[in-house]
Amino acid sequence: MHLQGLNDLDYNSCLKCNACTVSCPVSNVTLDFGGPKHLGPELARLTEQQEPIDDKRIELCTLCGTCDAVCPEGVPVSSLTANVKALHAEENGTKFRDFVLSHAEYVGKIASAFAPATNLTMKIKPARKVMQWVMGMHADRQFPVYRFNNFKRRYTKKTAETKRKVAYFTGCYATYNQPDIGDAFVNVMKHNGIDVAVPKQKCCGVPMFANGRMKEGKKNAAYNVDSLLAYVRDGYDVVVTCSSCSLSFKKEYLHYLNSAEAEELAQHVYDANEYLRFLKEKDELNEDFGAIGQRAGYFSPCHMKGQGIGNPAMDMLELIPGYEIRDLAADCCGQCGTFGFKEEKYPYSMKMGESMKEAVNELDAEITVTECGMCKTQLDQLTEKKTMHPIEVLAKAYETV
């Protein structure tokens, strides 16, 4: 196989039980998708001794990883489907649109430099129609706003002086779209007496993997491993506020890079709330939270569920006096990174979002809390509730006396 040796992947334990396909959020709304069982282990087994088969239906795989979590036999299903996506992109070339979407970082840089103009354009219906026509982005999809005063402009510290030191991987969303998350994170750390440094970093690569741009994704991955590992070896803990970025360090890099360095980094990466929970376990957490009387629903992104770390956001938010938070127990939101922006995927995305919307309405909390910027995009479009990052809520609690 061109891009990735398949032989290291243990698909032979697949019993074809279908647990993955009946749990797949895309398969659940459409019969157009071949499903993870067929496009993962079955296809790998079929093509082991022959030329790889390029299957267009793979475009509907979002790499959410639900298949991995349910497989009773431990088959790394989404690693197999990622390979099929890479092959498909290689054989067919990538649409200009997918190239743009997979480069969240370039887009962020440019869009934030012209932020007022970008945001305005994205809100005007005729302009969105043109986007659909020229770029294949669905005209009804609401886009996240871009900030001129992005986090890179706001915060430039490259080293930390305190006993515990944090190297913050900001991710594209908190850098260009919602730098308030970055500010909140730095504040929360400050309340715990911890300095935050922001190492040199590139987009984690998840949007590239999802669009089959494996080579570029790997390049970014290698760059980030180099940059972050230098900090780790200097005694820093790597902390991340975006659940897709943190999952990529913990899981995807290991598979795609397959290096000792990626393994070393994976041991030192924390989701932001996971890090706070770690501080609490060490009796180092500042628990001086002011009361916030609010009923919140927690939406768990697929890439958070996949990390296997329980529910650190709720563990932390439950410490705030007066804060009532319950897990929505919702399925995949349907935005799935760049998937829900695309004209031809939009109808699937909306169908997938229905059960999330139902869950939000059923719990009827005052606000929704989630870590993922892309899930927030879908929540903002489909529900009436305000959506916040858990770290923003914690920062507010520290500042409330």
Binding site: N18, V22, L31, G34, G35, D68, G74, L254, K305, G310
Partner: protein
């Protein structure tokens, strides 16, 4: 950190975790897969493939928990609350029809699967697109097993195409939609009109009577035929098990149970006669998870909690020493092996039926709750 950590999110683990959380215990579930439970029929037997009742079962395998009836009642109540109410009883065994048309004995059954009477007119309905249910085969077997019945069969189209093999659960999701249901009902009625057969007393479908909207689906088909309808569960995964799994999981998450998925338990710290913590692994990351009590619901041989090697059984999770039956030899005082994790001698061929899952899980949570109330709560006080 947790009062109770449950290893496994099959039926046994999920049921125990829900009970534990309902009793106010801070509960975690650790699993590396959804378990073999998804492949079961959704019917709850004493022992799968064994037509015994409670007496013969307990004679063969010993007493199952201190109060089996209470456990079953708790389960029936729970399924009512989550919206997929099971029926049946602990004492009575009923006949249900399977996807191959054979009759099987079971105790608890979901609202989409009904006990079968031993006489009357049965109509077995299949669908062109659903290849893993053949109505001719099912009808033939059912006729042989039920001489007092008059069995006929019929195949119609769902009217929808699939780019993958159409499974029964795919079809169930299609039948969630009213439009698809009405179209199917119309073609069934048209096909029956040409037939001049007696009206059926029971209509048997594969396990596809709606996923979320099973109640509407059952109701629409019953109204259309003017008689009872039932699902005959076949090749996995079955809609029955899937409906229940999804609802129980949602219940557990809403109750605040913390899920550690993609996570293998790989060893434990044993301190004296207690489990101190579990070694948990996600890929290359290894951590310890602390709890006051631990429930091992790892599913035995089928669920990969036990592996059968040339040198005998190995217990994969805590990696404790087991005997020739896969039973942990020295069970630490705060560890509760339940379901098939209790060892292969507890059930037939190491396969536990749904009832054993319920009863043993219920018992473990009961014991833990009693201990917690009795003041044995070290983790709670942070010690």
């Amino acid at each position: 950190m947790y009062n109770t950590a449950v290893i496994g999110q099959g039926l046994t683990g999920l049921f125990a975790a829900i009970l534990s959380a309902e009793k106010g215990g801070k509960t975690a579930v650790i699993s590396n897969g959804a378990g073999k439970w998804l492949q079961s029929s959704g019917l709850f037997d004493f022992t799968p493939g064994f037509a015994g009742d409670y007496d013969s079962w307990s004679k063969q395998f010993g007493p199952a928990g201190s109060d089996p009836k209470k456990a079953v009642d708790a389960f029936l109540q729970l399924t009512k609350e989550v919206g997929y109410p099971y029926a049946g009883s602990f004492e009575q065994t009923v006949s249900v029809v399977t996807g191959s048309g054979h009759l099987k004995q079971t105790q608890l059954y979901p609202p989409t699967m009904r006990p079968i009477p031993d006489k009357g007119n049965f109509l077995v309905v299949g669908f062109e697109e659903v290849i893993d249910f053949q109505p001719a085969q099912a009808a033939g077997n059912l006729q042989r097993e039920c001489p007092g019945c008059n069995v006929s069969e019929l195949k119609v189209s769902l009217g929808e195409r699939s780019s993958r093999g159409m499974s029964q659960t795919d079809a169930a999701r299609l039948l969630d939609r009213n439009g698809v249901r009405q179209a199917v009902i119309a073609s069934l009625k048209a096909a029956l009109k040409d037939r001049d057969a007696e009206a059926p007393d029971v209509v048997v479908f594969p396990a596809l009577l709606g996923m979320k909207n099973w109640a509407e689906a059952v109701n629409d088909f019953e109204e259309a035929f003017g008689c009872a309808v039932t699902e005959a569960p076949g090749l996995p995964p079955n809609a029955g098990a899937l409906r229940l799994y999804q609802l129980l999981k949602k219940r557990a998450v809403r109750l605040g149970v913390r899920f550690y998925e993609n996570t293998a338990v790989n060893g434990a710290k044993i301190q004296g006669n207690r489990v101190g913590s579990l070694g948990i692994e996600q890929g290359v990351r290894r951590q310890n998870l602390q709890a006051e009590h631990f429930i091992a619901a790892t599913g035995g041989i089928l669920g990969s909690g036990l592996i059968d090697t040339l040198d005998g059984f190995e217990e994969t999770a805590l990696q404790l020493e087991v005997d020739a039956n896969g039973t942990i030899i020295e069970v630490p005082e705060n560890l509760y092996p339940v379901g098939a994790a209790a060892g292969i001698d507890k059930t037939r061929c190491g396969i536990t039926g749904g009832i054993y899952s319920l009863v043993s899980g219920y018992d473990a949570v009961d014991q833990i709750t009693a201990k917690r109330k009795g003041g044995d709560s070290r983790a709670l006080t942070g010690a």
